[in-house]
Symmetry: C2
């Protein structure tokens, strides 16, 4: 049987990180599209927008003003999804009661931050230099370090310049992410990301930590180290998009989104502070390569949600994870036609229309150095 | 502690059907919205559209013509996501090999159908009479019955009028669903749904079946029967949207989408053919009530994905499920502002901005008999 058989037949692939399956229908991109089209993203933003609440010196929705910041700037989200100070929740139903079992809730405390990636309103990661991206990675690392338990060897206090004050609560987990583009619910094009830190370990990292634990238990090795090894040895490295000294960007075998990317360090590190300066440099270069290739794919500001999975702030026994970044971009065929994960995907299971290998090939063949806007 | 405390604090709720958690941030709807707005749906469609590939007598993309059908009409999807005739997949890696473990795939065969709900191009479920909706339920039931193993007491052959021929393969599972509205990836407003039947049991029903199994094992009762019981006894039935003799529509305690609804029969039935004629009638009325309330909420054609979870066609030992319908609608604040499940939701866990009780109250207070369009 030809190894390319999966390019032609409907099949499922297993995601060992989430312990779940996805359906792959490689023949399906042939169907005509009469459905919704995204607005092509506008590329002619000003460098400074007086109405933007993220630009330097401007006033934010809740009244505070931004300083005249020069690289990254962090503030507490004016509309945080989790609250820091609130009463504890005490379930009312008795324990033996069925309603205690079926109406289960628990209080969650936490704090949300916004990180402006750069003072310029009209830049994206794909427009930034490696050293500008390095500043962002350093800011993420500082916020993470400052929220670790003070007994951790990586704990540090925040410098006063960062924009937020040192934490007053010890939280369990920190999720760093970026929503880019209106298609991904982003309400402001100014380059920025978010950090949500909270008292609970959310579902997705919990699934991945469990998967790492089971894999370690069975094979005495790290799940993502083993996966890296398999990918780096695969004949023709069919899922690799970009590789440098310390990082590998690939379309994972089990990708759900059409051009999904998994970016991971080759060394088994579990959190940002463990990265060496050279690894941070490699990481920044890989982030630049991925985001430039994305924009070059459909010559558009490519929308995505991106985020980092790493060790919980407070680690419980046996909790292990190989740090990695997920890029979940929705576009499928062009700057305006996206993949919808609806209907069957919500009620059955996620379904994709091109194989991971087909997506990787296209991304690999693109220019990863210069974004199309600069070539015009 | 007041039982309303969950209206004010950030918390998580547990979904016992999927064995997963969601984050609830009731205070969060206050944030201003500067992001994407949906196109308000056009309500001035013609009754017949000569360019629509679902209207009676018209030609479809792949060349076939529709008959001059009068109620429902079924045909094989011209761009099915699963193929019926394809080679089997034989994994190439050896069993002990790490790549066999981490690059896991399996072939999936299947067939996809499209069901036109009505010949009129400009109707939706909310515009239809109970008897028109009953015809749709009967068509779903017939397709399900004809795909059961011939040894099943509910097995039947398809009538020649239905539009498709009797199955030639025995499949494991059948997913019936509808995507409505461009926001839900629907590429044609003609009222229609889909049926995907396939050789694998997809993730979502598999999770629910597992949950039913564990619940039965622990409490010797049906998970959704117990949940029904809890909801029907809850003081003030705060999550109920609509109830009739045989069906209950509610915003489940663990709802993810802002106005998500779970519709379920009060009697423990596991598949459509088990419903009595009175239950089918109740079901149709409840479908009408739900879709009319949805449209009346923001005075718009309310987008959603809807689907039925019921017993697999081929049941394995101990596989049990209480039939139910999920409605997953994205709108949050108005006809044009939706909830995006992106960033934190993809990387952390699903997050909602209003409580299930707040959503249920709004839906409950709306007119469920007459859609706003008919009142104008
Ligand atoms: O089959 P349709 O309506 O063309 O397509 C729609 O529904 C399918 C099943 O939920 C999805 O896979 C597609 O992404 C969506 O656009
Ligand atoms: O916080 P924002 O950017 O206003 O909002 C966006 O990201 C959040 C976190 O992923 C989501 O909960 C919102 O649905 C989305 O619109």
């Amino acid at each position: 049987q030809s190894p390319d058989i999966l390019d032609d037949i409907s099949h499922r692939r297993f995601n060992p990180l989430r312990n779940s399956w996805i359906l792959v229908s490689p023949h399906r991109t042939k169907r005509p599209w009469q459905g919704a089209q995204e607005e092509p993203s506008k590329v002619t933003l000003p460098e400074y927008d007086e109405k933007c609440y993220l630009c330097p010196r401007n006033q934010r929705a809740a009244g505070d003003s931004n300083p005249d910041y020069e690289s990254t700037y962090v503030f507490v989200n004016d509309y945080s999804a989790v609250k820091e100070d609130q009463p504890d929740y005490v379930p009312t139903a008795a324990d033996g009661d069925k309603s205690a079992l079926l109406l289960r809730a628990e209080g969650v405390k936490g704090k949300c931050f916004v990180i402006c990636f750069h003072p310029s309103h009209n830049l994206t990661l794909a427009d930034m230099t490696t050293s500008q991206i390095t500043s962002i990675i350093k800011t993420w690392t500082l916020i993470y370090r400052s929220h670790l338990p003070p007994t951790s060897p990586y704990f540090t206090f925040l410098p006063p310049t960062i924009g937020i004050s040192n934490p007053t609560h010890q939280y369990r987990y920190m999720q760093i992410f970026e929503n880019k583009g209106a298609a991904m619910g982003c309400s402001n094009p100014h380059p920025h990301g978010q950090v949500w830190t909270e008292s609970a370990l959310p579902e997705e990292p919990a699934l991945e930590i469990t998967a790492h634990k089971h894999h370690r238990h069975k094979y005495s090795s790290c799940l993502l180290c083993d996966y890296l090894d398999v990918e780096l040895r695969a004949t023709g490295t069919p899922r690799t998009v970009f590789e440098n000294a310390h990082f590998l960007a690939l379309v994972p075998y089990w990708a759900t989104w059409p051009f999904e990317i998994l970016l991971l360090p080759k060394r088994c590190v579990s959190s940002l502070p463990e990265l060496t300066p050279e690894e941070v440099e490699s990481f920044a270069q890989a982030m630049s390569q991925v985001t430039i290739r994305y924009d070059n794919l459909f010559k558009t500001q490519f929308p995505y949600s991106m985020g980092i999975h790493q060790a919980p702030l407070v680690k419980e026994q046996g909790e292990e994870i190989h740090l990695h970044v997920h890029f979940y971009p929705p576009l499928l065929r062009s700057a305006t036609v996206r993949k919808f994960l609806v209907g069957y995907e919500m009620l059955g299971e996620p379904q994709r229309d091109i194989t991971a290998e087909q997506a990787a090939r296209r991304l690999r063949e693109l220019d990863g150095e210069v974004v199309y806007r600069k070539q015009l």
